[in-house]
């Protein structure tokens, strides 16, 4: 099965479970969790079921397209369900079956893995899912997001698309994966991989990036004061990406690093709180609507 069909299959599967199918969010980010569809929507009491593909940038993992396993940008298929359904493990295993993975022919395990992202004030408990020894999915029950307790708890399922595809297509090199008939990952992503790696490690304008961090940070704070959560959050994401670029470049010393992570965390916490307050002002409309539905 090529990647395009994998994505279509997963979309169909989770759409059938009542998830809203979203498109990738258009600001750079390091993981699907950072999309506002996850980070913000996991906050507060409103139900939320969503699935989307998220291209995720990890500047430090750039390898000029030379490493068969590491990428500057990979793809995650992200599912969020709030509150977490009782049969979520079964729903997940059904999605693997839909991808042609018959559990009776493999060894599938749920191995403890607790997830923490201090720079977003997030923590969760769950597993990494092993398919014949390979980690193909992160499975997390969010306990805290942006420093706020999750009530109710969301469950997050993150498939590593390239990882899973390399298993399904039995390829050793990520660039050999078929995206769709006639097109491999190499055709589509090799050049950007090389260029982004060269940019990240060699040619980025460090002074400019430091300036951008400060400017983005100020703007995020400014827009939060205006109660505009989403524009503010876009700038938080930008800060985080700029920080990752600087970090990968080795431009941030270990001492300074703690400081920058702290600044990102402050922003994330403030955004989380602002989002909650704004939803509360609106009377948590999705929750209200669902409750009315239940009564009918």
């Amino acid at each position: 099965m090529n990647i395009q069909n994998m994505i279509l299959t997963l979309q169909k599967h989770w759409s059938d479970q009542g998830c809203i199918l979203m498109q990738a969010y258009d600001v750079e980010k390091g993981a699907g969790t950072m999309s506002p569809y996850t980070f913000l929507r996991a906050i507060g009491p409103e139900p939320w079921n969503v699935a989307y593909v998220e291209p995720s940038r990890r500047p430090a993992d750039g390898r000029y397209g030379e490493n068969p396993n590491r990428l500057y940008q990979h793809h995650q298929f992200q599912v969020i369900m709030k509150p977490s359904p009782d049969n979520i493990q079964e729903l997940y295993l059904d999605s693997l079956k839909a991808l042609g993975i018959n559990p009776l022919e493999h060894d599938i395990r749920f191995v403890e893995d607790n997830w923490e992202n201090p720079s977003l004030g997030c923590a969760g408990l769950g597993w990494e899912v092993w398919l014949d020894g390979m980690e193909i999915t992160q499975f997390t029950y969010f306990q805290q997001v942006g420093g706020l307790e999750c009530k109710p708890v969301s469950v997050e399922i993150t498939y590593g698309i390239e990882r899973l595809a390399s298993y399904i297509q039995d390829k050793e090199n990520v660039f050999d994966l078929e995206w769709t008939e006639g097109f491999t990952v190499r055709d589509i992503f090799l050049q950007p991989e090389y260029e982004h790696s060269k940019y990240t490690f060699e040619t980025s304008n460090i002074d400019m990036l430091f300036n951008l961090f400060t400017i983005y940070e100020q703007e995020a704070h400014q827009q939060m004061e205006n109660g505009l959560v989403h524009p503010a959050y876009d700038y938080v994401l930008k800060c985080s990406h700029v920080f990752n670029l600087l970090d990968a470049r080795g431009a941030i010393s270990v001492t300074e690093r703690t400081g920058y992570i702290g600044r990102c965390r402050n922003l994330a916490r403030k955004v989380a709180k602002t989002f909650y307050d704004e939803r509360e002002k609106l009377g948590f409309p999705i929750l209200k609507r669902e409750e009315t539905k239940d009564h009918e």
Partner: protein, 690 residues
């Protein structure tokens, strides 16, 4: 009375493997306590556990609690009868509270006063009525990490999926979150189905038919015997790491052992890298030849049956290949690094915000290691090696390999140092200075490694104490206790005759120079002494030394660790000798009375009034000369107990606390001088003799 079996099963989403064994033991203990606390008799309790279930089968539980016959004592007779001889309110109140009536009252005399009594009989309740209370036992289990799920308030290890509570064939009703108890359970996730138990006692067999080996030790034995078969068939040696086996066992419900292979070229990688990749990251068992050489195979345990094993093997091979190819890349990259460049990078690595960079800390360790080397009988060559090893011992922390495999710190350092032309003494010390890495690990074999290990660990402990990060209770995030025990073990193994207090003072001087301390250095020193004494106490307790003997040998400080331990062992061995009591009493008399001595003056033999004083003085002089010679602890001890007749004769014929100040001071001075030698061995008056 008739009896029934009870089955209790908690079905869960996969629990963390590391919690399972402890949790099932807790469940068994807490349930046993509950049954005993409620006086419900039972015969046998057995526990069962897999990643998805915790279960107890309790055989032969009584149908009811034991009945209770008791006599309850109430107020005095004069209070319960009013003037007219009628029962007072007090009488009625008392009998009511006992579930009796005034008609049941009789009197009994206690110490000449008559008191109201009633016979109490409490009929035991039916067990099945009480069993729903087990809900509390289940929700009270302790887990190191808890979670919430959906919109439940309960915090638990993982979401609860089903509950079985069967008393014989009867369901005991209760519910946790929205899950109600029933007779239904689930077999293996993929091979099994939903099942129903008619009787509690069907449990083990029914689950086996659904591909779940529910008895953890049976499951472990199944893994062991399958691995042994593989060893025999292939003429392999597969070392069975107990921790790995335990973890793997708690990751599967139905184990099938299989093996895979990897390219022989990867055997060029350091063995530790291969082993770490297999064991730590993939939970594989590495395979060795009969003569102990690593072979390009691995063994893993599948949660399932024998079908399609080749697919599973192939998948696992692919994962390991990717890992080894990564490792191989990092290993080759590291070949391009120079030690000096790595050391420069350490300037930017913060060890701890309040302690400073790794470079700064390590410079201190280097100076400290050189200072300790000066106190110990080591060769010039070793001294030179200590200096260099201390200088470079952390360089591997910034290599690619250690970044990827942090658990290989030191081991990679040793290998790279050799490759880059460092001497063997220096290279091995880089690895050894982390030893002992855990309570089972060996201490550094070489003097250079041992010196560096002590310097590094003690500097770490002193630094954290200096910034106020002192372990308390279960809080010891920097593993300072383990490191302190490590230092003691090293000093003990090396038998170095350096006093612990002396090296501690050196360490604190360096910390003080660095200026990181947040309080008075003397105060820190006292805290550290107490901390180390406690570690030594633990060590001696493990050696089976009695607590009062431990107090006695630690009475005069720590001193030379190996000497201290020898003294403790010597006293422990002698404590049952027939003359031990008298010996200790004699020595203790000296200690007890000399505590009354003020300033000790030079002893004036002119002031002696009897021959016993003279004899004791001669003995003291003998001690002076003997102890200047290097004396073994055994000889020291012999010498001390040989004083007994002289001491006893002295006290029989000499009054110490006389009116004449001059004579009194002279006598106390003699005893105090003697006491110094005794305390130097042990504070024998702490020892309890019966």
């Amino acid at each position: 009375m008739s009896k029934r079996d009870l089955l209790l099963e908690i079905g869960l989403e996969e629990m963390p493997a590391r919690f399972i064994t402890d949790t099932i033991n807790q469940l068994e203990q807490k349930t046993t306590d509950w049954l005993k606390g409620h006086k419900i008799a039972f015969e046998v309790i057995s526990n069962y556990s897999t990643p998805r279930r915790l279960a107890l089968l309790i055989e032969g539980i009584s149908e009811a609690q034991e009945d209770i016959h008791e006599e309850a004592k109430g107020p005095a007779k004069k209070i319960v009868l009013d003037d007219k001889g009628e029962w007072s309110k007090a009488a009625i109140g008392f009998t009511k509270s006992q579930g009796a009536s005034v008609d049941d009252i009789y009197f009994k005399e206690i110490n000449g006063i008559e008191y109201v009594h009633v016979k109490k009989f409490i009929k035991g309740k039916e067990t099945k009525v009480l069993l729903p209370e087990l809900k509390q036992v289940i929700t009270d289990l302790y887990f190191p990490k808890n979670m919430r799920w959906a919109d439940n308030e309960l915090k638990y290890v993982r979401p609860i999926k089903w509950l079985v509570a069967l008393f014989g064939s009867e369901i005991i009703p209760f519910s946790i979150t929205d899950v109600k108890t029933d007779r239904y359970s689930f077999g293996h996730r993929f091979l099994g189905e939903r099942i129903s138990f008619d009787e509690a006692s069907d449990y083990v067999q029914t689950l086996l038919s659904q591909f779940v080996i529910v008895n953890a030790s049976e499951r472990k034995n199944a893994i062991i015997s399958q691995i042994e078969n593989l060893m025999e068939e292939n003429d392999w040696n597969i070392p069975m790491d107990e921790n790995l086996l335990e973890e793997v066992n708690n990751l599967v419900e139905y184990p099938t052992v299989l093996f895979g292979k990897f390219e022989e070229t990867y055997l060029d990688l350091p063995e530790q890298v291969l082993i770490t990749s297999m064991k730590e990251h993939q939970r594989y068992f590495p395979v060795k030849s009969k003569d102990g050489k690593l072979l390009p195979f691995f063994v893993t345990v599948r949660n399932g049956d024998h079908m399609h094993l080749e697919t599973v093997a192939k998948g696992n091979e692919k994962v390991l290949r990717a890992r080894l190819s990564d490792a191989s890349f990092f290993y080759n990259e590291d070949q391009k690094l120079k030690i000096e460049d790595c050391l420069k990078k350490l300037n930017t690595v913060v060890y701890h915000e309040e302690i400073g960079t790794l470079s700064k800390k390590n410079a201190r360790v280097q100076e400290f290691a050189n200072q300790i080397a000066g106190l110990i009988n080591v060769t010039e060559e070793e001294k030179i090696a200590v200096n260099r090893a201390a200088e470079i011992c952390k360089f591997d922390l910034v290599t690619n390999m250690v970044y990827e495999f942090p658990e290989l710190q030191g081991q990679m350092g040793e290998r790279y140092a050799l490759q880059k032309g460092e001497g063997e003494l220096v290279a091995s010390a880089i690895n050894e200075h982390y030893m002992p890495r855990n309570s089972e690990d060996q201490t550094p074999p070489s003097n250079v490694g041992a010196l560096l290990a002590i310097a590094d660990k003690l500097d770490t402990i002193s630094s954290f104490f200096a910034i106020g990060k002192i372990p308390s209770g279960s809080q010891d995030p920097y593993a300072l206790r383990r490191q302190a025990s490590g230092i003691i073990q090293i000093l003990l193994a090396k038998k170095w005759t350096v006093s612990f207090e002396e090296i501690l003072t050196l360490s604190l001087k360096l910390v003080e120079q660095a200026g990181i301390q947040k309080k008075d250095i003397e105060e820190i020193q006292e805290e550290l002494k107490t901390f180390f004494k406690l570690r030594i106490k633990h060590l001696l307790q493990e050696k089976g030394i009695r607590y009062d003997i431990i107090e006695a040998v630690l009475g005069g400080g720590i001193g030379v660790v190996s000497t201290l331990v020898k003294k403790a062992v010597l006293l422990e061995q002698s404590k049952d000798n027939p003359d031990f009591k008298e010996n200790m009493e004699a020595l203790s008399r000296v200690l007890n009375i000399s505590s009354k001595a003020g300033q000790v003056k030079e002893i004036n033999t002119e002031l002696f009034e009897n021959e016993y004083e003279k004899t004791l003085f001669e003995q003291l002089q003998l001690l002076d000369t003997s102890l200047n010679a290097m004396l073994t602890e055994e000889n020291y001890y012999e010498l001390l107990i040989s004083l007994k007749p002289a001491i006893n004769a002295y006290f029989d014929h000499t009054m110490v606390m006389v009116e004449n100040e001059e004579i009194k001071t002279n006598r106390l001075s003699l005893l105090a001088s003697l006491a110094k030698y005794i305390v130097n061995f042990a504070k024998v008056n702490e020892i309890i003799v019966k």
